[in-house]
């Protein structure tokens, strides 16, 4: 993975710097989106923008000009065969206290990164995962959003260095399975899809929403509810997903092994042929 982004715009201008008084830095006071770019097109753009706008509403960051943001993003990915676009919206610069200034203007950062290198086997055969020791705290007022307070994920991701482990799964304080450090998780049990309820913690991923939409089109039932670690271990199939990896079958969680199953394979195929009208 390239450490430095290829191109960066801050509030529409080529720049790689923000003020040390930006509330994104001071408090993690903002949101982000990680968008796959293929052949100069932004995958699942409308879903990303829906979530971003909903998050801005919840945090009180004010309206964002989605048309202007889209033009900026499309300009940045023009001619890019495969890349990752990261959009960050912070509350802007303002002071030393937690209270946001009244006249604050959001900061808009758009970064183009190289596509991350993952072995094809992760998609085709599946991956090994661990259960992280770092737990997710529960906070309904922040749950679901892809906000900039991500120390839990950083601490969880620091737990392993073994390149053979492709993801770590995280539990909440009550021991329920919530998500991967960078992905959402689905289970198949008795022919039904299950995915954790994210109203108390976790990030409601765009690929999670997309997969649920495809599953509905395929007449698969998806249950959203609390999931215990035992249920995960006894699942018939497990997979993780995000906007960049799409779907990765999970073949191992610590010492528990799984086969790549028929529903996972079917959903991967659905994703591959989805005539996605939310590409922009």
């Amino acid at each position: 993975m390239t450490v430095e982004p290829i191109r960066v715009l801050v509030n529409g201008e080529a720049s790689n710097a923000v003020a040390t008084t930006d509330r994104g830095l001071l408090y993690g006071d903002g949101l982000f989106e990680t968008i796959a770019c293929v052949d100069g097109k932004l995958q699942l753009w409308h879903l990303h923008m829906q979530r971003l706008q909903a998050g801005c509403e919840r945090l009180g960051l004010g309206d964002i000009d989605i048309d202007a943001l889209r033009d900026e993003c499309l300009g940045l990915v023009d001619g890019v065969v495969r890349g990752v676009l990261k959009v960050i919206i912070t509350r802007g610069t303002g002071g030393r206290g937690y209270r946001p200034p009244e006249d604050v203007t959001a900061t808009r950062i758009v970064q183009l990164h190289d596509w991350p290198m993952h072995p094809e086997s992760a998609h085709a055969q599946g991956i090994s995962t661990i259960i992280c020791n770092t737990r997710l705290g529960q906070n309904p007022s922040l749950a679901g959003m892809k906000h900039l307070n991500r120390l839990e994920q950083v601490m969880a991701r620091r737990e392993w260095n073994d390149e053979a482990i492709r993801e770590g799964l995280m539990l909440d304080n009550t021991g329920h399975v919530i998500e991967g450090t960078m992905s959402n998780v689905f289970l198949v049990r008795k022919g039904r899809l299950l995915t954790p309820d994210l109203t108390r913690c976790g990030v409601a991923g765009i690929m999670r929403a997309h997969v649920m939409g495809l599953a509905a089109q395929e007449n698969m039932t998806v249950d959203i509810r609390a999931i215990t670690l035992t249920e995960l271990q006894q699942a018939d199939e497990v997979f993780v997903c995000n906007s960049l990896i799409a779907i990765w079958p999970v073949r191992r969680v610590d010492d528990t092994t799984f086969e790549k199953g028929p529903l996972t394979t079917r959903l991967q195929a659905c994703l591959a042929r989805a005539n996605d009208d939310s590409i922009t």
Copy 2:
């Protein structure tokens, strides 16, 4: 309060900018300290540095050169009669993923701000507070640290605009009293001091530690434990504290009123005359 800091150093150089790839911005991956400066001296410096070093250890940010940081800070506050020094340590710049790069170097930001304006009555007579609706999530792996994931405090501080309300008190998800948005809280019940246990959430404030030390010198007993809202409401005295305000008596929590009591007054006097050997 001045919105912009007076002087800023980034890694020892005069600057007001950090990279958009700084992990402090991307993930809130870092820590901060807010230090009172009086007559060019840094109050409770050693306690601040102890906490900062302990936090760096817990987050795996690596060692910081405290001597160099002190010289930098003292240079910034030279000749300053009264100011606020904010020290921010982030994990440094690195990539798009949660996993920290192996060769990352921490970013060191030091900002000098104006002293915040508060009426003398806050200290002398006391303040009105509310109980915030925003709750604190519980996460033992992050509890106690003054890290940069502070969205809960921002959301709580957005709940009121009434200037007569000087602080908001926050509960955890189980309804226990934890702290103020920018302060720690103490109760007096039957002649004993009580302050919330912060092993599952909250910031272990420097002034909280200092007050506990002074209380011990005065042979006051301090109990650290879970505290219910009812216990708060039935307390004989309540006060909040932080490094800038020292001790403010709490005269009102929503509709419950309190007198400024003898232990609060005594601790304020102790603080005022403390021959503090941790000034630098």
